[in-house]
């Protein structure tokens, strides 16, 4: 089989890349190793309403809930409230990703991409050293899909980059390992996302609760890999739920890993582009990666169509992708990497002090950066090394 572009992985990044390239007239194959796109879910499903809406028209079929804002709790229980429009990227909509991911793949199909499920990439095909497509296993048979460009959108497990000589393997400090329950509890606040900080609760991470309507919520936590041990996320989550929500009814369980390494050095090679979690484009502070993956996918789709029509699908021809994503989502990812490196070192006492210092301020209209600016003004000694982030 021959096409212009083959996209490996039908998550939000891959589907947006496939759709964008197909809309521009390219012959696109979107392959996904699972038989059901979007399932099992590995996500807390929170996204910013405004940013999502700038890329795709929201559809009630894949929106589980809308929230008004977020509440942030220090280890000692003191809290602040942030309003929806400014709470950063992670609140606004809580999605139903099983439906959302499939809808994005369908959009790619409608735009003309050939979607192939139960098709797992095994390796790159090369001719005279140049990448010429993907060898895959489809329903147990090995098939070759020839293409000028391969887009690796294969998520946290990504191998496409490694096959192309880009080392994307994550060290323990580069990954948050997570566990989550979808649960019913009558005390769930349907209107607010909640974040609980504390080294006892989630070393180098946090606990989240994202409502999904009618007192259902995704309650989960992430632990920084360097401070985790076998099975720790599941144990810590069970402890949290037993203690704080003793009457909760658990109806689903999710585990997963989120890259928090920040941008890798290179996301392109001759005939290869990496998108989304495969390019380690998730946010190092929040762990959010859906919207970054979608935005990178759109840029990749645009650049690849120009590269294919100009006939230059080598590094030079794909360079615009590298430049454009670093100019847009890359800046925030880099800033948040510095923040993450700092915050995972804070003790519970530091976290309590920070929260107390800001409690008398009106943070309801602030974004993360505005809040950081105030925090630095109030705690200059502790936060001195972060001042470059708000200049």
């Amino acid at each position: 089989m021959r096409c212009d572009v083959v996209v490996v992985g039908a998550g939000p990044g891959g589907s947006m890349a496939a759709k964008t390239a197909a809309e521009r007239g390219l012959k696109v194959v979107l392959m996904e190793k699972r038989q059901e796109i979007g399932d099992p879910v590995r996500c807390a499903e929170g996204v910013s309403k405004s940013r999502l809406s700038s890329m795709i028209k929201p559809d009630p079929r894949w929106i589980a809930a809308e929230v008004k804002g977020a509440r942030l709790y220090a280890p000692d229980g003191s809290s602040i409230v942030m309003s929806e429009d400014k709470s950063g990227d992670e609140v606004g909509y809580v999605l139903e990703r099983k439906i959302f991911d499939r809808a994005l793949a369908m959009d790619a199909a409608r735009a003309g991409a050939k979607v192939m499920v139960k098709t797992r990439a095994l390796d790159l095909i090369r001719t005279d050293g140049a990448v010429k497509g993907v060898r895959a296993m489809r329903y147990g048979e090995v098939i070759d899909i020839e293409a000028d460009v391969v887009i690796g959108a294969d998520g946290v497990e990504s191998k496409v980059g490694r096959w192309a000589g880009i080392d994307t393997s994550l060290k323990p400090g580069d990954i948050e390992v997570c566990a989550q329950f979808l649960l019913y509890d009558k005390n769930i606040d349907n209107e607010y996302c909640e974040f609980f900080l504390g080294n006892e609760l989630a070393p180098g991470g946090y606990v989240w609760s994202f409502p999904k309507g009618e007192h259902l919520a995704n309650v989960g936590l992430g632990v920084i890999g360097s401070r985790s041990e076998p099975g720790a996320p599941v144990k810590l989550l069970r402890r949290f739920v037993e203690k704080r929500m003793p009457e909760a009814r658990i109806v689903e369980m999710v585990v997963g890993g989120v890259p928090v390494s920040g941008p890798i050095e290179r996301t392109i090679a001759d005939g290869v582009m990496l998108v989304g979690d495969a390019a380690r484009q998730s946010d190092p502070i929040t762990g959010g990666g859906i919207l970054n993956a979608m935005e990178a996918g759109i840029i990749a789709g645009e650049v690849v169509s120009e590269a294919v029509s100009s006939g230059d699908t080598g590094v030079e021809g794909l360079m615009a992708y590298e430049k454009r994503w670093r100019e847009s989502i890359g800046k925030q990812i880099a800033r948040h990497l510095d923040l993450k490196e700092f915050f995972i070192r804070l003790s519970d006492e530091d976290l309590n002090n920070l929260m107390h210092s800001i409690q008398s301020e009106d943070v309801s209209k602030m974004d993360l950066r505005g809040m950081l600016r105030v925090l630095i003004r109030l705690n200059p000694k502790m936060l001195w090394e972060l001042r470059h982030l708000v200049m």
Binding site: R34, P40, E157, K159, S169, I175, V177, V255, G257
Partner: protein, 59 residues
């Protein structure tokens, strides 16, 4: 030797992303370990469910 407790594994792929030598592969709900494993133990430490263990090779 890396062993997978398939009754515990939540097929999340976190271990695949951290393996420095690409020795792991997740096929739907089935985790495969290849001969390339260098027994570094990174995947064991990071598995959120505790499904992996590093054991002395038999015989």
């Amino acid at each position: 030797m890396i062993t997978v407790n398939r009754y515990v594994c939540g097929y999340c792929g976190a271990c695949v992303g951290v393996c420095p030598v690409c020795a792991l592969e997740l096929v739907e709900a089935w985790l495969e370990v290849s001969d390339g494993c260098i027994e570094c133990g990174r995947c064991v430490k990071l598995c959120p469910t505790g499904a992996l263990s590093l054991e002395e090779a038999q015989g």
